[in-house]
Symmetry: C2
Subunit: 294 residues, 2 copies
């Protein structure tokens, strides 16, 4: 059986290695990106450049997108030159951007109307996970569609799960980011407290980083804070986007999440301090700065 024709929209720090894994697995590939130069290494490996999402989707069996913001998702999929405008009946649109669950549902409805299918499939695991093919992929949509795309997901990630109907991939990603938000305020405040007492932060993490207080964040980002290393693993600007979506979606469901709202406020303050290109552990600098304005 010959492999499906794939289209890939968005060849940034996440999308490029994900797309490359598919090319290396032998899938014929068409690519589109807002800035063409970032797609050059993929074209060098045999991908066909396309000038628009609409041009790209022609003749594709499955189109993936992973772009910046929900507005970009809307444009590349539902826009006038969007992928759905030319995707053939029976084709599948898979958006892997972290985006609005409600937009995923809107895309699903639009696709279905044209006899096409769609999945929302945001990821976690960062650029390292994308390069190593170890991403977690949280999928929303129909079982039948999931079954068709699943072999391709396994080329890009390790922990693949269909979470429910359209939007449930995004909802799961939101739950993930809400969990991280709370954990981060705990990490930052516990280390601020420890620093104020004059204790060695690494020694404190040695103790509190195992047992009932332990988390990935304290053992990884906490260690970076101890070294005063605020370089990005995950950018503050992207985390602000994700938390903003989670807050809007919560509000739409009539749900009040005061912890998330507080952490979002402090990360917005990080932006105001010019820290948006730093890693999420730079929340430490925000809370440190806050101590000067009481």
């Amino acid at each position: 059986m010959s492999k499906e024709q794939i289209g890939w929209i968005g060849t940034g720090v996440m999308g490029s290695p994900m797309c490359m894994h598919l090319i290396e697995a032998g899938y014929p590939m068409r690519v589109y990106n807002r800035s063409r130069d970032k797609a050059a290494p993929l074209v060098g490996k045999g991908a066909v450049w396309c000038d628009s999402p609409a041009e790209l989707a022609q003749g594709c069996d499955i189109v993936f997108s992973i772009v910046g913001f929900p507005a970009d998702v809307e444009k590349v999929i539902l826009g006038e030159q969007g992928a759905l405008s030319t995707l053939a009946e029976g084709g599948i649109m898979v958006d892997m951007t972290t985006s609005h669950p409600s937009l995923a549902q809107k895309i699903h409805a639009a696709a279905a109307q044209g006899g096409k299918a769609s999945l929302d499939a945001p990821v976690s695991g960062g650029d390292l996970g994308a390069r190593q093919g170890t991403l977690a992929i949280m999928v929303g949509g129909e079982q039948k569609t999931f079954d068709q795309v699943e072999p391709l997901f396994h080329v890009m990630g390790k922990n693949i799960a269909l979470m429910g109907g359209p939007g449930c991939g995004q909802h799961t990603k939101m739950a993930n980011q809400i969990l991280i938000a709370g954990t981060m305020i705990g990490v930052v405040e516990s280390l601020l407290y420890a620093a104020k007492t004059g204790m060695d932060l690494d020694k404190v993490i040695d103790v509190i980083g195992s047992g009932a207080a332990s988390s990935w964040s304290i053992n990884n980002l906490g260690r970076r804070i101890a070294k005063k290393d605020f370089e990005p693993g995950f950018f503050i600007k992207h985390f602000i986007k994700d938390m903003g979506i989670a807050l809007e979606e919560s509000q739409a469901m009539g749900l009040s999440l005061p912890g998330l709202a507080l952490v979002h406020k402090f990360y917005k303050h990080a932006e105001a301090l010019g820290l948006e290109e730093r890693g999420t552990q730079a929340l430490y600098l925000v809370l440190e700065e806050l101590q000067n304005h009481k």
Copy 2:
């Protein structure tokens, strides 16, 4: 070399098994507890009952205490009938209650004035850790004193660390509790969000419980929330005590911890809802209840 004479104050759910481990290791033991009946099993194993901390400390080389609140610590150590009133010169007072770092420093100063020594040595690991002898023990005080008591700590726990001078054991425990507080608001809000979308909570935890959002809390207390199991591992009333100490101590150091303050407020609300005897995961019920009062 014959083993030191030990005194043990406080034979509750933590203190009893800790004291029992020392008796089983062959240490001669004197015991005191506010309610005598709880000490009966220890007396049955050969411990000598004493009617007051002062009576207990007579002839002891090392006295341990693990009681309820800082006021109890102050009474059994510094009070008129407190252990320090009769502890001989060269004796060591070890308070293992989670209590004020500043009280630990006050005890240290009082002990030193009488030619005695002291350590603050709160624990984590719960009643299970106490029974299994796997507690983490966070110690503050002088190296020389720590070296004398360390073999006994190893009878009670696994992860033993001298964190710094007097109060630093308590400071480390506070950092631990601050970290848990933030993590718990993340756990509860992420699962509230997931529940509101109609997703299966265990399936969501399968995904978000590994990777960058993972923590002991989501994988243990989150699983309990998914089962609607709010029975205590760690009591809300004890967590409120610990967070209260952390907040007072932060304030005394001129440190503002808004995440901790928020979580403390919600746990105080749990108390108002009659949930103080539930486990800390019952924060979920508080946030759920909050949704009805917006």
